[in-house]
Amino acid sequence: MNIPRETLLSLYHDMLRTRRVEESIESLYHEDQMKTPIHLYIGQEAIAAGVCAHLRDDDPIFTTYRSHGQYLSKGGDLNSMIAELHCKETGCSKGRGGSMHLIDLSAGHYGSSAIVGGCLPIATGMAFAKKAQGSDAVTVTFFGDGATEEGIFYESVNYAMLKKLPVVFVLENNEWAVCSHVSTRKIGENLFHGADPEHLYTAKVDGNAVLDVYEEAGRAFAHARSGKGPAFLECMTYRIRGHAGSGSDADLGYRSPEDIEVWAKRCPIRSFRAWLLREEVETPIELERMDAQIETEIENAFAFATASPLPKGEDLLLHIYGE
């Protein structure tokens, strides 16, 4: 695969930025200025980066409560996101949504749901609208392994296949639904089995290998954008952090600390950085410069959030209905 250098660096930048943003959130979470549940994406960044690299601003995406990575990789505004985590009026949802409800229409991020599987049919409906309007935009929805157990998953994929809708279902299989392992919840190796390939393009990929994700996602988008119907991409990964909150939950005893170690060593960012240097795509000094730029950007975002006003209690009843 011949990937432009610019794209390679952009993939690295997106993963690194998401990681650094979440590490900053994590390190400051105990200060209790971010009074919102957080669901960290640490270790899964290659999926959002590899998928979103193919998307235009007018390709809509719908995400979940674990959506910092997708929001940022799609081009969502960092200041607005950090302000939202601080529940500020300058946040992307003006403090009404918090960490689980991010939006940035200018980047084509149409919102995230805290209900497992909640966005699957909504993304399908967006794809229906785009097709009806004659647009070649492709709609993407990200979801976890738990969502494939919901009935609405089957309903949504069925409708997308039936109407040949330009939607790409991106499954982030991180093995865990809170403290329940996927093997206790579902049978078989493939979380979507039984679909006729004629009606659904499917691929399974190592979700910790950003170039693999990028390559497979590219095929899925080419399929969907050319009017052949929906695609389904299963990305195998692992949730390094607990379901919610900051820090390791290895001491809880529901999973083996060794497993966490094994996957932590498979860090998608570290391995890709080594590859970029080995292939001489970039020099160490330039990668360090990128790191420093990201640090500054994050510092500025937290400063913006901290200085921003909180919503006023008297505005409680705003935004219930649209004009």
Partner: protein, 343 residues
């Protein structure tokens, strides 16, 4: 169902104006919306059947094409989500259900998503969808095919809920719902479908959130919704014969609810009977009675009475059905317990 001429006092226009059947009035609203606005489409299980969902969608797929009026899989939850996504993509979906009971299968998408997407993102997006559902009645429809769910459905901020009682309003509220930038649930009562009413051919809307006085009176306010407004008007006619002058208020919308109209009427009459085709506990009648207690206590000369269906699932057998449904005589009885005899 035998067709009956709409009750004389429900007529909104002069006798010279065109009379139209209740389901045909809904169909005309959809036909006009489809013709006027390319963003509108109509979907639902059986909307393109020969019968066209009791006539409300009859022939629309022929006039406007299968892309704009189409059948759906038996997947109420996801199809509600599809409507939401299409609305976010700039369209105006109307999702039709021929039995309101199936609304329960849609609640995750309708309540968790459609009703909150505007609020959760502080107004960045709107979800202009119309969900239409028909409450069944009679012929043993029973516990799962004739539930009146308005008490449940009026509770959610972000969702508007309307219940027309006349053919005129059925058309006008459908057009208003399609034009509205929010999710709107229209609950119809199948009992209304036997009526004809004066319905102008022109395009018009009936405002969501505004009730209307159907009959002016001075002794007691009977506030009702949908088919119970017809029962209230029949009751008022009988009550007039015994010297009791009842005012009949048609709430029309449940969310937003026209509190002002109810309280104005109560100020005038001092007595209130609320009637609804739903259950008594935690329902429409309970809400209106609470408003009277909270904001109209100084007007009340007697306790508020609720005339509703009793707290039991709908029975199938017709003798039990007769006992289950509240009607004109129950309203008269309730009025007589709070209005002193006139003659």
């Amino acid at each position: 169902m035998p067709e009956v001429r709409e009750l004389e006092w429900l007529r909104e226009s002069k006798p010279s104006e065109r009379m139209l059947g209740y389901p045909q009035a809904i169909c005309e609203a959809l036909d006009q919306a489809l013709a006027l606005d390319p963003r509108v489409f109509v979907m639902g299980q059986g909307v393109d059947d020969p019968g066209g969902m009791f006539g409300t969608t009859k022939g629309l797929h022929n006039t406007h094409g299968a892309a704009r009026c189409f059948d759906t899989p038996l997947a109420e939850a996801s199809m509600t989500g599809v409507a939401i996504g299409a609305a976010l993509g700039g369209m105006r979906p109307v999702y039709m259900h021929n039995r309101s009971d199936f609304l329960f299968l849609t609640l995750d998408q309708l309540v968790n998503h459609a009703s909150k997407w505007h609020y959760m993102f502080a107004g960045a997006v709107s979800v202009p969808i119309v969900v239409w559902a028909c409450i069944g009645r009679g012929w043993g429809s029973g516990a799962q095919h004739s539930q009146a769910l308005q008490g449940t459905m009026m509770q959610y901020p972000g969702l508007k809920v309307v219940m027309p009682s006349t053919a005129y309003d059925a058309k006008g509220l459908m057009l208003a719902a399609i034009a509205d930038n929010n999710p709107v649930l229209i609950l119809e009562h199948r009992h209304n479908f036997k009526y004809k009413g004066a319905v102008p051919e022109k395009v018009y809307t009936v405002p969501i959130g505004k009730g209307v006085v159907r009959r002016a009176g001075s002794d007691v306010t009977i506030a009702g919704i949908s088919n119970m407004v017809n029962e209230a008007l029949l009751a008022a006619k009988d009550l007039a014969a015994i010297g009791i002058d009842a005012e009949v208020v048609d709430l029309r919308s449940l969310r937003p609810l026209d509190e002002t109209l109810v309280l104005e009427s109560l100020r005038k009459t001092g007595r209130l009977v609320v009637t609804d085709s739903g259950w008594k506990t935690g329902g429409v009648a309970a809400e209106v009675a609470a408003i009277a207690a909270e904001k109209g206590l100084e007007f009340l000369k007697a306790p508020v009475r609720r005339v509703t269906c009793p707290d039991v699932p709908t029975p199938s057998g017709y003798t039990l059905e007769q006992a289950f449904y509240a009607a004109k005589d129950d309203i008269i009885e309730a009025v007589r317990t709070i209005v002193p005899p006139r003659r």
